[in-house]
């Protein structure tokens, strides 16, 4: 063998262990007590939202839904490290990040049901609609981030995909473009161990997903995705780096989804064991952060109960709002195709209104 031309390392970040004990004091993020409690509230809300969404899907009151339980630390912690001015570019599972970045919950319910209003993100909210084509959001994020750089704004774009998504060409292209342009982007991979039924080991022989950053020449970090403080610390550092003009970072959060891939008929008992699930349940992000906060005197059962009740009310309210959305008409779809409908579309619109064929 010849000489070594390059060497790489993938750091691992963890702040809290499974028992809620601080494992790395230097990485402990500088957050106020209120911020810490807010993080916990959001994780509890997300757990309740997931339980309710699953029930609502079974009742036929929601449509497409991809469960998130288990991924609360990874989702909430990463979004918490961004500013409102930053752009969130989600995959189809990333609804909690959307909610906390300002995408109204009722609109996400409408998105789930398949209503046009569901994609109409409010003008002052920097979130893209959830992306169904796995990887497409990654190349778009390179463009959004380059846009901030060209405008000279110290803002970042953060995007999400899963472990399976790292096998897509667009995943590599997006990271590589952002790297080549030193664009302020954070690529956040939620490695929840399975892409539907396919285990992460079948996606790649790579030891970590974070090391895929090496191919783009950007830093890659693996973080304990069940540890909200670890996730926050890793994303905060990546965001600071991006804002300072030093380019993108890839973060792999090692996490788990307790539920099925989606509510569209996936049955996880076909591909994973009770033992595997039990192992991950011990690492539950809510349990360890609850322990940490309780020991600091920042959290109580009463408080958690209040958050749960408030969450239920919020969800009920959002559902009501979704129910009151006007029924769509085919004309509405035609009118939003272009700024000005083409002659052909005008003719088709007239046809729908019974004004003769063709």
């Amino acid at each position: 063998m010849g000489k070594t031309v390059s060497e790489h390392a993938v750091p691992y970040v963890q702040v809290l262990d499974e028992n809620g004990k601080v494992t790395d004091k230097e990485l402990l993020p500088n957050l106020t007590d209120d911020q810490l409690r807010e993080m916990m509230k959001r994780m509890v809300f997300t757990r309740i939202l997931d339980q309710r969404a699953i029930k609502l899907t079974r009742q036929g009151r929601l449509g497409f839904y991809a469960p998130v339980a288990g991924q609360e630390a990874s989702m909430i912690g990463s979004e918490f490290a961004t500013d409102k001015e930053d752009f969130v570019v989600p995959g189809y599972r990333d609804l909690p990040q959307c909610v906390y970045h300002g995408y109204p919950l009722y609109k996400l319910f409408l998105y789930s049901r398949g209503h046009q209003e569901g994609g109409r993100v409010p003008d002052d909210v920097n979130v893209m609609m959830p992306q169904i084509i796995i990887g497409a959001q990654i190349v778009q994020t390179a463009g959004i981030a380059l846009g901030y750089k060209l405008k000279g704004e110290k803002r970042i774009a953060i995007t999400y995909t899963g472990d399976g998504g790292t096998s897509q060409g667009d995943f590599y292209e997006g990271m590589n473009f952002a790297g080549a342009y030193k664009a302020p982007a954070v690529f956040f991979v939620q490695n929840n161990q399975y892409a539907i039924s396919v285990p992460r080991e079948k996606q790649t022989a790579a030891e970590t997903l974070a090391q895929k950053a090496i191919a783009a020449g950007i830093p890659g970090v693996q973080v304990d995705g069940m540890d909200i403080l670890g996730v926050y610390a890793a994303v905060k550092q990546a965001a600071d780096r991006a804002r300072a003009g030093e380019g993108p970072t890839l973060i792999e959060a090692v996490t788990f989804r307790y539920g099925p891939h989606t509510m569209s008929g996936d049955d996880p008992t076909r591909y994973r064991t009770k033992e595997t699930e039990a192992t991950w349940e011990k690492r539950d992000p809510l349990v360890r952060f609850r322990t940490y906060l309780t020991e600091k005197g920042l959290w109580s059962d009463d408080e958690e109960q209040q958050v749960i009740e408030a969450a239920k009310d919020t969800i009920t309210e959002a559902l009501k709002q979704a129910d009151s959305a006007a029924k769509m008409k085919v004309e509405d779809l035609i009118d939003v195709m272009f700024e000005e409908p083409t002659t052909a579309l005008k003719r088709q619109r007239a046809e729908i209104n019974g004004e003769g064929a063709n």
Binding site: V121, V139, G143
Partner: protein, 326 residues
């Protein structure tokens, strides 16, 4: 006024738009310092800087994804795909993403993106450079497809395409880049998208065509007039999505007969859609079926047999003679 080739008219149009609107960005493989593989962006990076005209890594999906993201940020991207045969790499970002952005966001986001790309046969390119793939995007709701055939049209249509607030695919036929010069005004002018142009008046048969087949059809029509004393009306579609059926129908009302001439294979291109729309809008004026002049449904040919595979003046003449005999 100046005499320009089509490629000069394109460069000139890009120059005008870069100067007019600071949100216009040009990018792609080798479009910067190199000025493009056909010199379409020659001198533009030097004039407007690397923040406006820049090279990208070699990845088509990345290029169009970048355009999508920049559009979300309020820019007006004009990305280039080096040869349209490479469009398959970017198919998702065009057909599933950019073309649907306004619709899926209920109008919150839109994509004022103009994708420039060379295509077209007759210049002995290697594989997958010359294929006519425009038909694929006729079937993609949300995107317009423009194919100019003259320097004058290329400039006016490109200005319209860039200013359009929805995505446009602007296909540049390689054989037309430098094949002839035409008077092109120096000042700004636009040609509306979706409007065809009657390039030769006639009363006996309507020829509907686009791209390099416009010139072939015009020559065939001239020859036909000499040989038979019959006059073919030639319509250059200029935009193939949406199709200007009104202009076609008005012409057929006069001629009663039509043929469609395209460089794409029989099952590809815009031909079948044109015939279908003629059936819907003008069937009572037809005295004969609408015939199509196209290459056969094979893969794009090897360079050495290109001229025999592509439609020629003779094949157009044959169709004209046939359609008047029916």
């Amino acid at each position: 006024m100046a005499q320009m080739t089509m490629i000069q008219a394109i460069t000139h149009a890009l120059d005008l738009e870069l100067a007019r609107d600071e949100k216009v960005l040009l990018f792609g493989e080798d479009v910067g310092n190199n000025g493009g593989v056909f010199r379409a962006t020659e001198g533009l990076q030097k004039k407007y800087g690397e923040d406006r005209v820049f090279d990208t890594p070699l990845a088509e999906s990345g290029i169009i994804g970048l355009a999508n993201g920049l559009a979300v940020q309020g820019f007006r991207p004009v990305p280039e795909i080096q040869f349209f045969g490479f469009v398959f790499e970017a198919f998702d970002q065009i057909a599933s993403q950019i073309a649907r952005l306004r619709y899926r966001s209920g109008g919150r986001f839109h994509a004022p993106v103009t994708i420039r790309s060379p295509f077209g046969g007759g210049v002995r390119t290697p594989e997958l450079h010359s294929d006519s793939l425009e038909g694929l995007f006729l079937q993609s709701p949300g995107i317009k497809v423009v194919i100019p055939s003259t320097p004058y049209d290329a400039k006016g249509l490109l200005l319209s395409a860039i200013r359009d607030n929805d995505p446009v695919i602007f296909l540049e036929h390689m054989r037309l880049y430098r094949s002839f010069r035409q008077e092109v005004p120096e000042e700004e002018y636009t040609i509306p998208l979706g409007k065809a142009n009657v390039v030769r008046e006639g009363k006996d048969v309507t020829i509907v065509t686009y791209g390099a087949m416009v010139g072939v059809s015009q020559k065939a029509a001239d020859q036909w007039a000499k040989d038979k004393g019959l006059q073919a009306e030639v319509i250059d579609l200029r935009t193939i999505s949406p199709i200007d059926i009104e202009t076609i129908a008005a012409s057929i009302q006069k001629t009663g007969r039509a043929i469609v001439v395209q460089e794409a294979q029989r099952s590809a291109g815009a031909g079948a859609e044109i015939v279908a729309q003629i059936n819907e809008q003008a069937i009572f004026h037809l005295e004969a079926p609408v015939l199509r002049v196209t290459p056969p449904d094979t893969v794009y040919p090897y360079g050495l047999i290109e001229d025999e595979w592509l439609p020629t003046q003779q094949s157009v003449l044959a169709a004209l003679n046939k359609v008047v005999s029916l």
